[in-house]
């Protein structure tokens, strides 16, 4: 892109002296390039909930492509440490994101993009125009109703995180309740990276309730590994670590991004059956462990029961039949 005089003027307006090749937290906010402000500090807190679209889009412009969502999580941690006065730890989080330094051209692009957003262009529209695929979880990432917010209807800044007293409701149910607990987001659509689960002979597993008609799982799914973990004579603790919530074979939930994928629900139950078969539990014991707990706490037990049983049993049957050995 040719840098016109107008562009250079814009670049100057959006920039401040001192070139930052990598993101830096300053008293103004999160800064990159020639002093371009990615997000300003609002009452010394970065309003990530409202600004995450802007931050992600500007980063995509600066780095010339979509950046992983995990970067936003790192930024949030860095901002928290900065807010808490631990600037060294904040700097470490920023450094550990592993993003490379940007050059002058990227800083130029960044400043222009910031100008467009400040002029009212929506981040999504800009990202779409530039051909950046927005990650599925963007827009709700790390939204936390427990955190204090500026009340709705307060003009610019409504809904932003604030240092004041929390306004609005707080969750009091489930593990997301209370301070210090994790916020889990849902991605309802079938993720683009989803893979069809195929048996070692290459045949897929049918699933009439899947959008594709086949059992879908995340790319990390490996049922041979699940079965092998079961054969290691796992303790209760290890079983929970493997197929409990956010376990390494809990394909429905991704621990790294704190995201729940309903599209992988059947794969999660299938994995539970495979692991329990590998661990030597009978079909009945597996059924008892998985069902009785759900019976106690799940309100639509009768509705979900057959489906859950079917996939846990199918995993157990396939593993017991030697498919995943």
């Amino acid at each position: 892109m040719l840098a016109t005089a107008a562009c250079r003027q814009t670049f100057g307006k959006n920039s401040s002296p001192g070139f930052q090749g990598r993101m830096t937290l300053t008293e103004r906010g999160l800064v990159l390039g020639a002093g371009t402000l990615l997000a300003k500090l609002d009452n010394k807190v970065l309003p990530f909930e409202a600004d995450q679209d802007r931050i992600w889009t500007l980063l995509a412009v600066a780095y010339g492509g979509a950046v992983p969502l995990a970067v936003l999580a790192s930024l949030r941690r860095a901002a928290k440490h900065w807010h808490g006065g631990d600037k060294c730890l904040a700097a470490i989080h920023l450094a550990q994101m592993g993003l490379p330094d940007i050059g002058k051209d990227a800083a130029h692009r960044l400043a222009l993009a910031a100008e467009l957003l400040d002029a009212g262009v929506r981040p999504r529209a800009l990202a779409r125009e530039l051909g950046f695929d927005r990650p599925a979880g963007l827009g709700k990432y790390n939204y936390n109703p427990d955190e204090a917010r500026v009340p709705a209807g307060s003009g610019y800044g409504s809904g932003f995180w604030t240092k004041g007293v929390a306004v609005g409701p707080t969750l009091t149910e489930g593990r997301s309740a209370g301070s210090g607990s994790r916020r889990i987001n849902i991605v309802r659509d079938l993720p683009k990276v989803a893979v069809v689960v195929t048996r070692p002979d290459g045949t897929p597993i049918d699933d009439p309730k899947s959008p594709t008609g086949k059992l879908m799982a995340p790319p990390r799914a490996n049922f041979r590994e699940v079965y092998a973990a079961g054969t290691q004579n796992p303790t209760l603790f290890q079983i929970n670590e493997d197929v409990g919530h956010f376990g390494r074979f809990d394909y429905r939930r991704d621990k790294a991004s704190d995201t729940s994928f309903p599209a992988y629900k059947h794969a999660s139950n299938y994995a539970a059956g495979v692991l329990m078969a590998g661990a030597g539990y009978t079909r009945e014991q597996t059924h008892d462990i998985s069902e009785k707990f759900a019976y106690l706490f799940s309100s639509n037990y009768e509705t979900d029961k057959e489906e859950r049983q079917y996939w846990t049993n199918r995993g157990w049957d396939d593993a017991h039949g030697g498919i995943w050995k």
């Binding site: 593990r175 987001n185 309730k209 209760l236 919530h245 429905r252 599209a263 707990f293 037990y301 859950r308």
Partner: protein, 144 residues
Amino acid sequence: MRLPRWLEWIAFAASAIILLRVAYWIGTFLYVFGPALINPCMIAHGNFAKNGRGDLVEDQSRDCAIIGSAAEDRIGLSLADRVDFIALVYYDQGPNLHEPGLRWLDDDHLSVDLGKVTWLTPQIRRLGRVTISYTYSGAEPSLE
């Protein structure tokens, strides 16, 4: 008759071993499943919408399985002057995975578009000052 001192020590040691073993298993069980027993369900949060008064409607998924997944999808509404979320409707999308549409028409009227579903419960149509309208297809409300 008083037992010999050495026999008392053996009995004490045997009891201590048994107690320690029991304590170990109870401790392990509580360590592994304690959080799940105290707070058994995990709630995941989807898209949301807030009105000018601060009432918050949100797509939620509540999962109470100890292994695998036993999730129930629901739409939760939290009024600004309340603490808890009230489940307006439970639903199942089957293979038609998509985000439900949640829209405040004004501060007192909420529109919930569930799209194509394979199952749903009867719905709460009024909560506090909020009137809720629903759009869906594919199933009739049922408690079964």
